[in-house]
Symmetry: C2
Subunit: 450 residues, 2 copies
């Protein structure tokens, strides 16, 4: 919190200095910040301010901040500088950051910038990996050595390479074909006696992930085994990169946001301060889907207009049945979606999960049905109405609970993201079922109710 407040102050100072054109003071102010804080400040600037600032900021300062920016931030920086300035910045960042920046460029500019980079080939190869795969999130500036290397030569190599300190937590050993053999922690390296070949101190039971694996699976593997880094191999087992826990943290945060947003029909890229146009454009489509469900429910209700005209209290109780069913469905869908994401629930568990949710749904449904039935009896002294409401609630809650587990598992089984608008489908279907049950039962016994 302190850091955020202080970046707010920096932003205010920066704008004052920009107004009077004192750029050398602005640069001094920003250069003193941690690159992560500088990135935070840059994100709060508008496009014109960012362009002015980047024009004055030294290339290496900008380069250091890039690693702390998300995709939108990288796109904003790339848009704020001309191609020669961008090249100067990219020449000072690691390959995987350069790749992330290039992914934000329009095809033509991407081609031009790529061609002018001195590491063109390697970055072109990285650009081939899907954004959300192990290849898309891996870093390439890690250390790998042949497994026959003696420890003192390995130490010598690290001295010479001076790898950035946030990379060299593990040293991977490879055979003559470049295939991953084991992992040597730098700690093991310095505690081993000189002369020992790396193969002897390497941990052989290494958890590696394939370059095509989805980033969420990469994150889960690292999380499962409490690792701080995980090597990435190609289909022949050759080491091509590594991913560290700090990147996995970003992946997991992104995936959690995605699940929460998709459940209610939101685009995962929406932020609280996204422009109004963007927010409207992104939320409206799912609201239209929801509108179709709502009119479906309306059509069902209109079938019972005779019943409703005879006894309008039924209309008043409709929201009770639909609201309770919707809430029960949303609860179960949330558990199902999150459990799938955490790896606790899979399609093969469908019968076990369904069996459990049927029992929970019936138990909750009966309990709520009794309470609500009693409340309506107190309100209207109408035994038949109380019983209809209780039965409809019990049925609606039980069905909603069942839908809440079946719909996400069904989506997962069909290869669709289980979070995709789960709440909208579950509550939409529940509404319709609730009204059929409640008004249908009421119509059957309308002579006793009205």
């Amino acid at each position: 919190m302190n850091e955020e407040r202080s970046t707010d102050n920096v932003l205010a100072q920066l704008r004052d200095l920009a107004a009077t054109g004192e750029w050398s003071k602005s640069v001094a102010l920003l250069t003193a910040l941690h690159p992560a804080d500088l990135a935070e400040v840059a994100l709060d600037l508008d496009a014109a301010e960012l362009r002015d600032l980047l024009h004055h900021l030294p290339t290496d300062v900008t380069a250091h901040a890039l690693v702390f920016l998300d995709e939108d931030g990288l796109a904003a920086v790339a848009a704020a500088v001309d191609t020669s300035a961008l090249l100067a910045i990219l020449n000072e960042v690691p390959d995987e950051i350069a790749t992330d920046v290039l992914q934000q460029l329009a095809p033509e500019r991407q081609r031009d910038v790529l061609a002018a980079l001195d590491r063109e080939e390697h970055i072109a190869a990285l650009l081939e990996y899907p954004d959300e795969s192990a290849g898309g999130i891996m870093r390439s500036g890690f250390v790998s050595l042949n497994e026959t290397t003696p420890v003192e030569r390995a130490i010598e190599t690290l001295r010479r390479l001076r790898p950035p300190s946030d990379r060299a937590y593990y040293l991977y050993t490879v055979d003559d074909e470049g295939r991953l053999g084991g992992v040597v922690s730098v700690r093991d390296l310095i505690v081993a006696s000189p002369g020992t070949p790396l193969a002897e101190i390497a941990e052989r039971d290494v958890h590696a992930v394939g370059v095509d694996l989805d980033q969420e699976e990469v994150a889960r593997t690292l999380q499962r085994y409490n690792l701080l880094a995980i090597p990435v191999v190609d289909e022949d087992g050759r080491l091509v990169g590594a991913t560290t826990a700090d990147d996995v943290i970003d992946v997991l945060a992104e995936e959690a946001t995605e699940d929460m947003y998709r459940m209610v029909g939101l685009d995962e890229d929406e932020r609280v301060f996204s422009p109004v146009r963007t927010s409207v454009r992104r939320r409206l489509p799912w609201m239209l889907v929801n509108l179709v469900w709502a009119f479906g429910a309306a059509a069902i209700v209109s079938l019972f207009d005779g019943t409703l005209a005879r006894f309008t209290l039924l209309a008043a109780l409709m929201p009770v049945v639909a609201g309770q069913g919707g809430n029960a469905g949303a609860q179960t869908a949330t558990i199902a979606v999150r459990s799938i994401a955490l790896g606790d629930l899979d399609v093969r568990d469908v019968f076990r999960a369904t069996r459990k949710e049927i029992v929970v749904g019936v138990a909750n449904g009966v309990a709520i049905g009794i309470v609500a039935g009693a409340a309506v009896y107190a309100w209207d002294r109408n035994v038949a109405l109380s019983m209809v409401l209780a039965a409809a609630l019990a049925g609606s809650i039980a069905l909603a609970t069942l839908l809440g587990v079946i719909i996400p598992l069904g989506l997962k089984w069909r290869g669709v993201d289980p979070a995709l608008a789960a709440n909208i489908f579950v509550t939409g279907a529940t509404d319709i079922l609730s009204f059929v049950l409640f008004l249908g039962l009421a119509a059957l016994v309308i002579e006793r109710i009205a």
Copy 2:
């Protein structure tokens, strides 16, 4: 996925072996697993199976698996062994794991076990820290050295201590009073020339967190600066521990689950395969809260029974207004809750966020109002009804959007978790407002509608 499938197979084999009493084969099977996989298998056993297994499994094998268990898992293991076996296991685990296990014990057993441990004092100190604070999640087995130590003596110390390889990623320097001075990565250590005092190669600009800081803030600091470890200091700046990125990953996953669950009124400890009793007991209270809202809505609707009796199509359209408002409110509440959790939204942003959401809400409301109004006109050729529905939808969506941002920020301002049943409050309040608007407007112009 592969690992999970294989633990399923192990579980089946284990049960076959247990049936024939072949414990030595069971032990061989489990000892060959990674401790994380062993922990996974243990979690799938019932209490009696777990007791039998732990009786046969060597103490050190059990001890290694403990680090991969969550609180429920630790409690199950502690309950499955007698006190002398538990002591033997605890003597082989790091202090912070022993502390986590002790936290799962009943007060009397906790006291007995603690008194019998040889590291009693240190663990008693760790037990004092709140579970969800920096002190509660930190590890104590890291390396700290006086800043005057020359690098070769530091290397010698690491050789002698042989710290576990998942801890010694950073080496912290302290002054004579034990106050944190800087951080030396093991990589920096081996690339420095002999004779250099640690103070000279230490990075002084260290991000440390206070021992009382909430675990979510600890996680956000580590995440913000892309760190793999962060030191924890007491109020005098003395180094008391450190937290690594793998633990922060667990904290972030836990907090994301908590937010998702609380939004729909679920207990954060509920799992997809929690016992039915537990699931019912945990979900029922919020469903009762929701029932109060639902009856509030029913009471509002019943005020309009004269209007509804004259024109029952109004009853059919009620779910359209409530459903759209509820969806808009849930979308905004989800964005607000997640943005607060990620540190993108704070109470001081209330005016900026509210202003934005009003504009988005009005724009979406008008768009949906026009579409739905046109649909009703096509259905019933009733201009007045179309206009009432359009106006009610626009108003309901705009209000719901506003509530979706104000309720979470209000809860945060009052020091309550902003996720706490956010959806239940937002959709409950939206239902009531929707019916007042829709039926109220309809009642005003009922002569033109019916």
